[in-house]
Symmetry: C2
Subunit: 157 residues, 2 copies
């Protein structure tokens, strides 16, 4: 599922934020993904919803497919030619936490008077859902208890 970034390691950014931004680091890419998370899979639907120029949308979709974040399926409406629709891969689906963390921050620090445009709840109990830090065994970690450590390059003493 995880693709090693191609090319010699010394040419790749050491930081995984930077490697993520090579795929996502452009406003349109994240908005295109938002549309697909919202269930819009066809070029015309995404284009109409975003008001993005068709050539720009084509380029973003192509890059997201090449990066294994989206995959295509073929469909055909009666009387039309075959077309591609765009769907999340496993890697794309795992961007749900990135999207949710951007949403949560925007709702808190760039609020609208009329409140959030989407809400997250559990299917099972209807409780509100947020994004936060967790241990591997699923215990919440307050942000004040999170320690970030830079790893030494392998081979360093």
């Amino acid at each position: 599922m995880a693709r090693q970034v191609s090319g010699p390691e010394e040419d790749q950014p050491a930081c995984s934020i930077e490697r993520s931004l090579q795929v996502l680091g452009e406003r349109w890419s994240l908005l295109v993904l938002r549309e697909i998370f919202a269930g819009r899979h066809r070029f015309a639907e995404i284009q109409a919803s975003l008001g993005i120029a068709p050539n720009l949308l084509s380029t973003r979709l192509k890059l997201l497919v090449e990066a294994d974040v989206l995959c295509t399926r073929t469909y055909q409406e009666p009387g039309s030619r075959q077309r591609q629709s765009y769907h999340l891969t496993d890697a794309g689906r795992e961007l749900d936490i990135v999207m949710a963390s951007l949403q949560q921050w925007g709702d808190r620090h760039r609020p609208r008077p009329s409140g959030p445009s989407v809400r997250r709840r559990t299917h099972s109990t209807g409780q509100a859902v947020r994004v936060g830090f967790l241990t591997d065994d699923g215990r919440e970690v307050p942000r004040s208890d999170v320690l970030v450590t830079a790893m030494r390059p392998s081979g360093a003493a």
Copy 2:
């Protein structure tokens, strides 16, 4: 702490991802913030670490200060003029989850052979920390149990 986005509401994107990207939706903005999270607060340090053109860095820092994500402090080295250093506001500090979710995704889906460049652990117990979905009472929610609902505009039937 939370600033209402200025201007009439109909001019603002309804989606909080889009409002967040008005501040963050540019590769350099997130990399500048990464530097400040890593403890680099002075213009020359950030510029040297990123290899970014000084005029581009000035522009990004100014926008991040205007958006209340960064604030400035004045410092003066002996024999030098007064300069500004750049620090996270409360809103900036709360981007830790956005940064961590980008890092987690990059480590999983854009890995390097030598592994992650940073690790998150708890101060208190040393356990590994990850980003995930939680209920308000701090119970982990599996992604398959997360339901996203679009909110109707207020006033709609």
